[in-house]
Point group: C2
Chain length 317, copies 2
């Protein structure tokens, strides 16, 4: 099974919001939108192996206060696959074009995980005035780099999952051996990564919906470091130009291996804050020590309350 935009009938399912396409010039960017254009614009950026509809429940709650846009990044969901071109700079500039060409006015941004790193990218590198404030939801700052300035890198955190996905599923699903992934997982993944085997349900012969919509080349780009090769996180954070909220979810260091269980360590979150503040910007850190990785889908109301409250606090809403 070669999942992806070339085989939509076996890949995609219906959702609560209609989907639209924006042409960046290089990729067809799939997105959904709700809320009114007379409200502030809010762009939602999914995490790795997520699609826009991970925000489906949150979008309903956000629609009262925002015009909400949730996108599929290149290589996610229904958006174009771009072999060899999955980098933070390309993900970020796609969104610059989307905000400029579709939203058409300054926007708040909030992204989860790798999407949180792209939220950071926008807060640092977007054109002047395009971004008003940025939420980083449990972002693997430093921890998704191959050679981070601080703490564990991708190979000492979630990287082995990405590597295994890429190995058994292949770039653009060219291998497609989900059963092989499941069989290999106990050997190639650290025990604490068992939750990535396909959800809490018993291992299934059918990959989960979100994985079908994921280009496993993303995994290779992060495992080999090419995604962030020209975007050092320390340098990026030192260039942030807007207020930032970082939500920090469950994490701990594995005593035996020193590996990072979770998206970023306390050290990494602290360094992110130091860099953003040194850049002259407000930085708020909110800890949710019991929360799983994707608060916006695990507890949409808490996510929406957190985002809305903070945007009110920074005086921009």
């Amino acid at each position: 099974m070669r999942y992806g935009p070339d085989n939509p009938e076996i890949t995609y399912v219906e959702h609560a919001y209609p989907e639209h396409t924006f042409d960046t010039g290089e990729v067809a960017l799939n997105y959904a939108t709700t809320g009114s254009p007379d409200k502030p614009a809010l762009l939602l950026i999914p995490g790795q192996s997520e699609s826009w509809w991970g925000y489906e429940a949150a979008m309903g709650l956000l629609a009262e206060d925002f015009e909400v846009f949730a996108v599929d990044l290149r290589g996610q969901g229904r958006s174009t696959r771009t072999p060899g071109r999955y980098t933070l700079d390309n993900f970020g500039n796609d969104l610059v074009r989307f905000i400029g060409g579709r939203i058409g006015r300054p926007a708040f941004v909030s992204g989860l995980s790798s999407g949180g790193v792209i939220s950071a990218w926008l807060s640092a590198y977007a054109p002047p005035g395009m971004i008003t404030a940025a939420v980083y939801e449990d972002p693997p700052l430093f921890a998704s780099e191959l050679h981070p300035a601080y703490g564990q890198g991708i190979r000492q955190s979630v990287g082995p999952v990405f590597h295994a996905w890429n190995t058994y599923l292949g770039d653009q699903w060219s291998v497609g051996d989900w059963a092989g992934f499941l069989a290999a997982a106990p050997q190639v993944l650290p025990p604490w990564l068992g939750r990535f085997l396909g959800g809490d349900a018993p291992a299934s012969t059918e990959p989960p919906q979100n994985i079908k919509e994921y280009d496993p080349e993303w995994g290779r780009a992060f495992w080999t470091g090419t995604a962030a090769a020209s975007c050092d996180h320390r340098r990026m954070l030192a260039a942030v130009k807007v207020p930032v909220l970082l939500t920090h979810h469950f994490h701990r260091e594995d005593e035996e291996s020193g590996q990072l269980m979770g998206a970023l360590s306390d050290l990494q979150a602290r360094k992110a804050g130091e860099l953003v503040r040194a850049a002259g910007q407000r930085f708020d850190h909110r800890a949710f020590p019991e929360m799983g990785h994707a608060m916006h889908s695990l507890d949409p109301k808490l996510y929406v309350d957190t985002v809305r409250e903070w945007l009110g606090e920074v005086g921009r809403l």
Copy 2:
């Protein structure tokens, strides 16, 4: 001597056109402009180790028919240095922002050498309708990649010069040993690269003006392949969306070593044409077998006549 924007007084000289700054959000892009806004817009992109003023003579001739913009790319001339971030995608997206934010309407583009590759990038990856037609002036297509699809790569062409510049001058001129470069050149450069020793004049203890304005980290980015790592030239050329003129200057293969003397081989130019035509676009190849690399400064009138005539032919002027 640490040349660059941090030490303008020892680095820069006066030019015939006033210089301006455009803020991309990440970098301050230096540029000069002439001609009237009621003429078609033409963006000129310098080559590696060149600055905008390499186009000074050509600009005077172009001003009659175009509103002309000549830029310093990041790491060139007076534009910002961005350590670790010299990639084709970043160079290209800077210009997307410049065209969108400063020029404000569709533009023709013409670039020399690495600037010609960036002209190709714009012709493939710019937002819809932003670029009208593209001139690639003696562009090292394939030949400036580390792992090209066709023919010689950067290490079998001009790469050793970039490597030597980077070694003896250092990222952001951190080493600054011009005398060391001159002393090492006979050993580390192939004999046919002797012309890069600093011009036709006897070796000087003072680097040429264009080299002072060059961030030698560019050289490392091309020598190590990071500049094009996420921008395969074959894939880029297969995505071209506008008519293209490629001017092909002096080149030959060294019989002894198989190395490429010049910007691109006949094979590489032919493959570029096949890819652009397969993408549904007009592709014209004009050979100037006696011409040195930078026609626009070596023979500004011939360059201007060539560009103007071709733009007339493709029916856009």
